[in-house]
């Protein structure tokens, strides 16, 4: 039995005429271990600042500044979080961010679904031109629109309201959303609508009852995209809103830091609160998030 195995092994060796194979194998193993370690080091580099943020959000200045710089907090000061949420206004900012982001996602999805459907499926002369027109918008940098938008919003007395940023967020989310959705709609067979048509549905019913539910995967992708851009956006939010009651998390925390630089703990807590929803979303949908962003990159 044992002999048989030996011969087979020898035969294999012979076939490939690789006398140095064992050496090659150890070399390969060393290299791959080395690579693995390098990857681990890189992972630590990517994570360590975030770990540090998490720990100092529970510490007081004494620990952060030297007492216990990188260890876990000696005392977990939840009071930092309470302080950030109440006197630091982070709770208000958080609510504002949720209002703005949810509204943006809902409105964007609705507009993207209806307009993409009309562009891809319905019969009208200018549908192709309209699509191209929307897609041109992907090349427009927000900087170029900042001042004119400021003037427009001022004219309509919309500055300093949630709408002042929801409206631009939606408008700038439309092109990429329409790109993703029209691509997705092409893949839905037309027969479905034809069958529904025979049943005598109205176009609104076909859209609402039949197409909209089918669009769900694409809506998920678009929502992730829209979430990332509106939750994290700074320039518009910083320019169009200056009342503390209305600020979103990004701007709110930014101004909070400028006003009160002395205590790091509560600021760290504010930063963690601003990041936590994103991290949770990422953990739950990590595959989907990565896919969405790749899609945006490749198509954009």
């Amino acid at each position: 039995m044992k002999d048989k195995k030996m011969t087979r092994y020898d035969l294999k060796m012979d076939n490939q005429t690789e006398f140095y194979r064992p050496l090659n194998k150890t070399l390969k193993k060393t290299v791959s271990t080395f690579i693995f370690i390098a990857l681990c080091i890189f992972a630590v580099i990517q994570l360590f600042p975030l770990y540090w943020l998490m720990t100092f959000s529970f510490k007081d200045n004494y620990e952060i500044f030297g007492g216990n710089v990188i260890g876990l907090p000696q005392v977990w000061r939840v009071s930092n979080y309470i302080k950030a949420l109440t006197s630091g206004n982070v709770l208000v900012f958080l609510i504002n961010s949720v209002i703005v982001t949810v509204s943006t996602i809902v409105i964007t999805s609705l507009l993207v679904c209806t307009s993409s459907y009309a562009i891809v499926r319905m019969k009208w002369k200018l549908s192709g031109v309209t699509l191209v027109y929307f897609l041109v918008g992907m090349m427009v940098p927000i900087h170029a629109t900042l001042l004119p938008l400021f003037m427009i919003l001022r004219k309509f007395k919309l500055l300093n309201s949630h709408l002042a940023i929801i409206i631009p967020y939606v408008a700038f989310a439309l092109p990429i959303g329409i790109l993703i959705m029209t691509g997705f709609l092409e893949s839905i067979p037309k027969e479905l609508e034809e069958a529904a048509c025979i049943d005598g549905c109205s176009i609104y019913k076909v859209f609402g009852k039949l197409i909209l539910p089918l669009m769900r995967p694409a809506i998920a992708t678009i929502s992730i995209f829209t979430y990332m851009s509106s939750w994290n956006e700074l320039m518009f939010a910083n320019t169009f809103i200056n009342s503390d009651r209305l600020k979103t998390l990004t701007v709110g925390i930014f101004s909070m830091v400028n006003e009160n630089e002395t205590e790091w703990g509560p600021i760290g807590a504010g930063l963690v609160i601003a990041t936590l929803p994103t991290i949770i979303m990422y953990i739950v949908f990590s595959g989907q998030v990565q896919k969405s962003l790749i899609m945006g990159a490749v198509k954009g």
């Binding site: 307009s115 019969k123 929307f134 900087h143 004119p148 003037m151 700074l234 990004t250």
Partner: protein
């Protein structure tokens, strides 16, 4: 069916709201910006038309350092393409070859991408803080006191420090795009190359990278354009300081408009940035597609 899908009222209802919003908020402002850029205007009094004077002043007899901000953005672009992308490419190629923990590494590297720039800026400002920051504390702790620097507070080091954070945040993004592209190369190609006796390095250089050229080109464009348009991170970390050391065109545009009320002049900067981005996008596409042909 035809009648159903040709319903003009429905088409109007479906498309018009999006179209109107998009036109008013995204398209119309560009024309306004172009118009503003030809005015001498403080936003309050009526502007006077000055033609291309604002553009000329960006570079001739310039007093606010605009050319230097452009230079800074170029430095960021060159560093991004020269340092960030090669690292991202290396990581992508390694991860795409089925190493242990592929998915976990990919997920971890990508985390900084999704976090708000404000949070990242604030966090790294604290890491760089000369007195209490993590970096200097650790350096002192391990006896490398001499390496401790002023970082963001130093005119020489600040731009480099900012760049490190840009790399840290966006490397995962480039890595992921390249990774997806490397993964889409059929495994048969790899296998037949391996049988032919090619080693991993040759495979990467001769097969993977040439096949990934189109996506690498996308990454180069993103890195360059991203540098030209960078605003958030620098605005949060240094505001362009110390002494304009990290100032980029977008930040100068922002302060020109909203701090100095030079609406016309600031708009000229905005238009300059757009044109710059367009020109470079086209140029990179041209240059790199020639490469693909060869």
């Amino acid at each position: 069916m035809q009648k159903l899908l040709g319903n003009k009222k429905a088409i109007f209802l479906f498309v018009f709201p999006a179209l109107l919003l998009f036109t008013v908020i995204v398209i119309v402002p560009i024309f306004f910006s172009v118009y503003y850029s030809m005015l001498d205007w403080d936003g309050i009094a009526k502007g006077t038309f000055v033609g291309f004077n604002n553009y000329i002043r960006l570079f001739q007899n310039n007093t606010d350092g605009f050319p230097r901000t452009v230079l800074n953005s170029f430095i960021l672009a060159i560093l991004s393409v020269g340092i960030q992308l090669p690292i991202a490419l290396t990581l992508a190629l390694i991860l795409a070859r089925e190493v242990r923990g592929e998915k976990i590494f990919r997920t971890i590297y990508f985390i900084p991408v999704i976090i708000s720039t404000v949070v990242i800026g604030q966090l790294w400002t604290r890491i760089y803080n000369p007195d209490y920051g993590l970096l200097n504390t650790v350096l002192r702790g391990i006896g490398l006191e001499s390496l401790a620097g002023r970082w963001l507070a130093s005119t020489e080091q600040a731009l480099g420090c900012v760049f490190v954070v840009i790399v840290w945040q966006y490397i995962g993004y480039h890595m992921l795009i390249m990774y997806a592209s490397a993964k889409s190369i059929s495994s048969e190609i790899y296998e037949s190359a391996l049988i032919d006796g090619a080693n991993e390095l040759t495979i990467a250089m001769r097969i993977s990278i040439p096949l990934m050229k189109p996506i690498i080109r996308v990454c180069v464009i993103f890195a360059v354009i991203g540098s030209f348009k960078s605003f958030d991170l620098i605005y949060v970390m240094t505001g362009g300081g110390p002494l304009h050391a990290t100032e980029v065109p977008t930040i100068l545009m922002y302060t020109s408009i909203f701090a100095k009320y030079r609406y016309g002049y600031g708009s000229a900067m905005a238009i300059f940035i757009i044109v710059e981005c367009l020109v470079f996008t086209v140029a990179i596409k041209k240059l790199m597609s020639k490469d693909v042909m060869e």
